[in-house]
Amino acid sequence: MAPPETPQPTTLRHAFGNVLSVFVLLLIGVFAFSIRLFSVIKYESVIHEFDPYFNYRVTQYLTKSGVYDFWNWFDDRTWYPLGRVIGGTVYPGLTLTAGTLWRILNSLNIPLSVETVCVFTAPIFSAFASWATYLLTKEVKGAGAGLTAAALLAMVPSYISRSVAGSYDNEAVAIFALILTFYLYIKTLNTGSLFYATLNAMAYFYMVCSWGGYTFIINLIPMHVLLCIVTGRYSPRLYIAYAPLVVLGTLLAALVPVVGFNAVMTSEHFASFLVFIIIHVVALVYYIKGILTPQMFKVAVTLVVSVGLIVCGAVLAVLIALVASSPTKGWSGRSLSLLDPTYASKYIPIIASVSEHQPPTWPSYFMDINVLAFLVPAGIIACFLPLSDASSFAVLYIVTSVYFSGVMVRLMLVLAPAACIMSGIALSEAFDVFTRSIKFQLLGSTENLQVNNAGESTNVAQNDVVKTEKNEDSQKERSSRKSKKKEKESTERVPLVSRIEQKLLVLPLETSLIAVFLLVLLGAFYVVHCVWAAAEAYSAPSIVLTSRSHDGLHVFDDFREAYSWLSHNTEVDDKVASWWDYGYQTTAMANRTVIVDNNTWNNTHIATVGTAMSSPEKAAWDIFNSLDVKYVLVVFGGLVGYPSDDINKFLWMVRIGGGVFPHIKEPDYLRDGQYRIDSQATPTMLNCLMYKLSYYRFVETDGKGFDRVRHTEIGKKYFKLTHFEEVFTTHHWMVRIYKLKSPRNRIRGKTKKSKSKASSTTSSKRSGTRKKNPWH
């Protein structure tokens, strides 16, 4: 608009503000990256847990063989003898991202290993995510709120838990994609630009590539569009923001093999199509209203609305018929359990049993979003005063995500960005009010200063408004037509007036000072909590364990010891059987074929392994032999007190095995309903393979066989293995590897009984005298 009277100081001020913002954002990015490095500093640069190892292996394959081979990859190293089609069953976003990153770095002659790139992908993308949060919040409530929200997101514990260095999982990039998609949607909604609409569809495509959680987007945005229409906020900008997203987004989503035709055939996506129809009907009505006189319009409206209703009704009927013809009404079990929270606990025990699908209690919120939980309501209220398209979207986002997080603790991750945005808005508004109060009253102490300053600050305020107005106008002029300009001007006059008014809206000085102090204290507490959570709670890689006792730090690196033993001492084509938890790690680190892995798609196969583990030695040998298994790997924590070992998971093996093979019965392993491995244990328990492999020679360690996890002496201490032989046990006995004896040896063993016996006793004697563990 008209240039301000004194352009010099304000432009300088703005330039300074922008530079400062960029600098702050840079620092936020560095902070987001570095707070996630605790795992590398405290442990080392390794990939964490289980699923990331699979992603790592896929990335390795991608960098080695290229995209096309990756797309068609049939993996014969897992689910032996079935194999698994990797290209068609994974979300490729993360892998492609890290692969591209690695390729770019290599082409720049920065020779990083694939593992290093994978380890640091998540921290890099969390920096991106905090920048995306800045952009999104800026669209909703301005730059100040944006910076605050970005800073909060950089360290929100819920997000840290999924994105520490080494946690190479889908969520690491998906949260960035989620926020970016929302930002571009809001940006399109605010500008009405087709350019942003196209970018939005691309961002949505990236999200679909990355994570199954994309269904949240494709339901939330239609909900918002519907809300806008119902509350009479329809505008052409809304149409531009929505229609291209549905058309392009759906087409792009169908390109991802794992989604494919699901993008048009499952109920999760139907809401978007329904709203797509509705927005067209509404757009038509608005168009006709524009070209007709009011009288004509009244006639036409009955016609159009009735025709539109009939069309809608017909489509609706088709949809309902389609949906009703499928048994689950077209919804997947997980989605249904979100809509009806009690659904999963009633009908799908496998979903209900997973710990991250449990509903959270209040301490989970305090742990994961900490003091943001206090600030969010203020942010919600701030979004309603005044309510715009963008802020209504933010409210919808927080409300849906907070409800979903209440159903499943895992979805706390989706809540975290929304909570950061809301808290950013709340904090920024609060600081705005309090610092204004302090500023004007401190300056008001001397009379002339006040007059001067009031004049100046009104000027500044005015200039601020003029400037922003100009900015927005120049943005909008490109996209929108003149006719809307008038309307916009009138809406933007309001803040100008209100700003001048606001100068008078102040709070008492001393209480404002205290309030600012308390808010800063609250922020400081948040920082302390987040750093603590990042350092202590979420950084353990679970592949290397440490424990601190009075005599210093102990490091347990048994898993990698075992996997490298496997890769160095076994044939390339040998098959290794273990419980499915260790499948991904075995294929990735030992490069050996496994029977089952963490992608639990075939229950029967898992049940077979479970049955073998719960059977006596001979039966287990038969099962394993029929699967060509050479080695059996068990994880045992009884010596060092590692609680998540196979004996503690054993009841699940029995249950899952018994679910398919009825001769395995859970009560046979329980004494009066109690799971125990001491002298009171049932004979079935004491003779099953898992017990024998876990506790074989265990008594030689301390002479009593005291299990430090179960806190009891084991029931059967001295026994021999007939069909398996111990080939390797790690330093702390956490992983024990057994080889299946070949049948020929077994027969010869009977004839030369005395000889083998003698040799085995000597060997065990020797090892007993030298050290507890013969392999060390």
Partner: protein, 343 residues
């Protein structure tokens, strides 16, 4: 030989006579019992027969194999108030299976009877079955002679999925088909028709109002309150209470006269506990919003000052309380990382 053969023959004769007697006697008594049970069954609306000690004794007096299976639900009115047992729900599911069985198998000569038995009046029968914990459902096959060992107890897993899993249990153990479970609709057909009609009539008016913009849906304060409520509802962990059916509070294990409102241990929470913390979570934000949006418009300085002091005090207290309770409940020791030279 001869000496030994005579008693054998006598025994054989005796057995034959007994056998004849029983085979002769069975149709009579079992017929009467079955017809009696059928009439009892038709008297009950759901088809569940109330079992008493004497009736049970009469059934058991029938020689095996009896012509029918019996499925018995062990009930105790005094335990209906205990939510963790959910006896009333199970009982209604049980009667649902019974009525579905009856309607799906309209047989003159039923092969399966449903019974319920009350602990207060039939303690002897409970002892007979060796039942000492509830919920308990037991199937007596026709061949069962010793109740404790020959009857089959329904597993907890079969109870868990309500009527459908009970029906599966019956089908697997008795080879009798229960057929689809006929759940009574929550609202009857007439009510549905009425509601549909009301909605249809009301819709045009509503749409008209909506367009003109004066329904409660156009009032943003309603939306605001709704959003805050959903937030409060979720952060208080109410969903956890609903899914796990947690009580509002419970009696102390050590001292039953005392009530426990706060449960120590992060994996679980009680209803009242969740709501009070949810309230603390929400109140701070609401007060902050009140200060930044409403209080600044108040002209009176003293009022502003007093309200501010109150707000700051309450907020500080609420945050402090939550931090304290969280540390107490989870046992985490959250601490900062200061430079070692500072200590």
């Amino acid at each position: 030989m001869a000496i030994s053969s005579t008693p054998t023959a006598a025994a054989l004769l005796l057995i034959t006579i007994l056998f004849l007697l029983t085979t002769h006697g069975t149709p009579l008594s079992s017929d009467t019992i079955v017809s009696e049970l059928s009439s009892l069954r038709s008297q009950s609306s759901t088809g569940v027969i109330h079992l008493t000690d004497s009736l049970l004794r009469r059934i058991l007096s029938l020689p095996t194999p009896r012509p029918f299976h019996s499925l018995i639900f062990f009930d105790a009115h005094q335990l209906h108030s205990k939510p963790e047992l959910s006896l009333p729900a199970l009982k209604s599911e049980f009667s649902l299976v019974s009525s579905s069985f009856q309607s799906n198998n309209p047989n003159e000569n039923p092969q399966l009877f449903f019974f319920d038995i009350e602990f207060q009046e039939s303690q002897a029968s409970f002892a007979l079955f060796g039942v000492n914990s509830l919920p308990h459902i037991r199937l007596i096959p026709p061949t069962a002679s010793d109740l404790k060992s020959d009857s089959i107890q329904m597993d907890a897993s079969d109870l868990s999925r309500m009527a459908e899993s009970m029906a599966e249990f019956i089908e697997s153990r008795t080879k009798l088909s229960v057929g689809p479970i006929n759940r009574p609709p929550i609202i009857s057909k007439k009510q549905i028709m009425f509601i549909v009609a009301v909605v249809l009539i009301w819709t045009p008016f509503f749409v008209k109002k909506l367009i003109s913009g004066n329904t409660i849906f156009n009032d943003k304060n309603i939306w605001m309150a709704g959003a805050i409520f959903v937030y409060f509802f979720s952060v208080s962990g109410a969903m956890f209470n609903i899914i796990r059916k947690m009580p509002m509070f419970m009696a102390d294990r050590q001292d039953p006269s005392k009530l426990v409102f706060f449960y120590q241990g992060s994996g679980m929470q009680l209803g009242a506990e969740g709501f009070s913390i949810g309230f603390l979570y929400t109140i701070v934000g609401l007060l902050l919003a009140f200060v930044t949006h409403v209080l600044v418009r108040v002209k009176n300085r003293t009022a502003q000052r007093l309200v501010m002091i109150f707000v700051l005090f309450v907020s500080f207290w609420a945050v402090k309380k939550v931090v304290f309770l969280d540390n107490w409940k989870t046992g985490y020791g959250i601490h900062g990382y200061w430079p070692s030279s500072w200590q």
